[in-house]
Amino acid sequence: MSQSVLVLAIIAIAVVGFGLGRAKVVSKQERLHSLPRYYGTFVALCAGVPAFAVMLLWVLFAPIIMLQPIFDQITPDMIPEGGAASLIMADISRLSDGLITAQEAGLIDPAAIGAPVNLTVLGEMLGQAGVILGSEIQDSTLILALEMVERTQTSHTLLVVVTLATALIGLATGYMRVSPRFWARNMVERAYLGLLILAAGVAIFTTVGIVLSMLFETINFFGLHDWRDFFFGLNWAPSFQDDSELAILPLLWGTLYISIVALFVAVPIGLFAAIYLSEYASRSVRSFAKPLLEVLAGIPTIVYGLFALIVFGPFLKTWFGDGGFLGVNWMSDARSVATAGIVMGIMLIPFVSSLSDDIINAVPQALRDGSYGLGATQSETIKQVVLPAALPGIVGAILLAASRAIGETMIVVLGAGAIARFSANPLEALTTITTRIVSQLTGDGDFNSPETLVAFALGLTLFVITLGLNIIALMIVRKYREQYE
């Protein structure tokens, strides 16, 4: 019985439960507390919800319990040069999937394989079943795959039995409880409320998941690598010998430098755009310029990345590079702090302008009128009355933009380069935390090496920095909002 059939079976049981529960109260010919369908729904929920919960938990956690012992049996000598245990694991699961398919198709005769497994015979049978064994599959892998087949099948039988039993027991319990005086609607609504709360809880699970997943791997990392080098070292130089230097400071420098360049572009443009749109622009200008500016925020970052790499970087180079228009040779590569920073700044313009616009609009008109009454011009009013009143909100908006700049990935991956160093020249390449996370986790290194695990420590740092910025920004914005309400 496959999982989809199992799901259908549970649904069928629940539907039967609905019919039974409804029929039971309707047949009694008494005054009912709730509408008949609520009795049916109650029984259906009793049958379906626990069964689905069991199934979901099983599907989520059974692989962990089931696969871990097999994963632990992978010995270092099974792993080929430059490979990873996870690749072997992938081989094993592919093989075991193939074995199960072949077995279901009747192409493998368990008796012919024999109790001490005859691997040659098995290989031939698999070949007939269309499961291709890679040349590098070793006997040990095959044995583990067979063990996995056995475990998968046991787990699956158990799943079917336990789930169906839960559904039937639930059906029986629900049916027994239903009677015309039973407050079915209230019970059903309570169950619905439970589901709603569960859905709202996903946000908490996600945060907990983020923190825990990164925390565990970060602890693993600090078990393999000196924490002092990570926090206080000055070099980023991963190597495949055991002498990697993995310090966050040069990456942090690159991240902050590029973010600051981005903010230098985004804040003046965004702020002036917001001021113009909210204070000067006519209705028609505003109604077409504001949505168009916001389009900039809706463009995927990969587009900005490509623009930085192919158009803007080379453009900068024609001015500052060797033989450029300015006659200086300051730029050796199209990828640089300025390339990534300025393009990122363009992306951030609408973040600054939209938020600031809302905040400037929230400043009461009375403040402006008072200022005009004293003879101030419009710009004087803005500079001396409106902006000071809106300042906390604008600072909040800028901090949110800064947090976005720090966490931005694709623009810096394509536009900033890959050199970790402390350089103050905006026309040189630097690298950032996000860039290194991508390159460390998409490379083919061993997952349990410090060079890979460092990505989790970097991710956690990034999470903490952006979280801090967001919290401060939200606090400032919230505090400000209370003033005029």
Binding site: V202, A273, T301, E380, I406
Partner: protein
Amino acid sequence: MTDAVHKTSLFVQNDSTKRRNAAEKRFRLFGKAAITVGLLMLVVLTYTIVSKGTGAFQQTFITLQVELLESKLDKKGNRDIEEMKKVSTFGYAPLLKTAIETTVAAAGIETSLKSKDMAQILSDSAAAQLRDRVLADPLLIGQTVEFRLLTNSWIDGYLKGRVTRESIANNKNVSVEQLDLVDALVAQGIVEKSFNLSFITGSDASDKRPEAAGIGVAMIGSFAMMMVVLALSLPIGVAASIYLEEFAPKNWFTDVIEVNIANLAAVPSIVFGILGLAIFINTMHLPQSAPLVGGLVLTLMTLPTIIISTRAALKAVPPSIRSAALGLGASKMQSVFHHVLPLAAPGILTGTIIGLAQALGETAPLLLIGMIGYIATNMPETVSDALLAPNSVMPAQIYEWAKRADPAFYERAWGGIIILLVFLITMNTLAVILRRRFERRW
């Protein structure tokens, strides 16, 4: 008051007024300049995308009469597919050489090139094109069949103006004689540029064959992933918003949820990728690079967006609706599900579409769970394949092409962006139409 004190009229500007008015003008100008810069950037981006990307939708093809010799392709002559499959693409290469030599000769073009160099203008995948066609229809063997084959990316670039005679001075892949030959073939209509459907429907190709690369498989990957995101994030997001907006008491638990949602909305997307890698792949052993896992990761990422807009939509439904329902004896749950939710539906849908559009353009978290561009080589055949088999998504495919540092691939990256943006614009337009058409002002 005497004239000695007030020498000037209010209607004549003195220095201070002039200064202040100039400052006012300057300030206004800064504002206008800022808007202009912003809009100009939008124009520059659009122009770049269109001008660099449209080339990818055109491809250079050469029409050749290829004689499918039985002696090369099916030596025993029994048309057994299994035996014919043993003839690799190398077995087809000589046929192409002969074909191009005869075509050139028949067209009366004089060239000093040998047949090997003439065949070099064909794509590396031309032989595979031939082989696929023959294996699909073995009866063609022995006949002379007309084929429309891809030329290599240098020739394609030459016809599109990307490659010039000057720029290939030290290039081993293409020579000036070959370009002369191509010019002659173009004049005869044998080589021509035409619409390239396989860019939209095809799969990624290896580094050496930019001319054969397409974004179709990655598009299916994106689509499968979007379906997962929609199926999960809409019900969960709506349920969560209903709870928070309509039922939640003001207590610490609700506060914790609210703070969490606000923060998750601002967590960098790459962090969600790390979460997906650590939990879905390393702990739960879900398949790597699968659109299902990508969908799970992006669901978590889009949930805050959907929750925030759904709550706004629910909040916009006036309390009188709820009161009326409650007054007629509906329970709280009934008033929400029967009355408030249907009225908020357009707003919820709008928010969901915008959330999905955001997810469609996301790259970084998907790279971390292995949905890298070069994986998108096989068109999935079943629904479960589309969800579970390794695949990529459009933005990751574009990133992969951008990384290959070859102008021919850059052109494809921009072309991919056009397709991606067409999807995004469609989705956003749909959202705007929904809002205009169905949103009620109370």
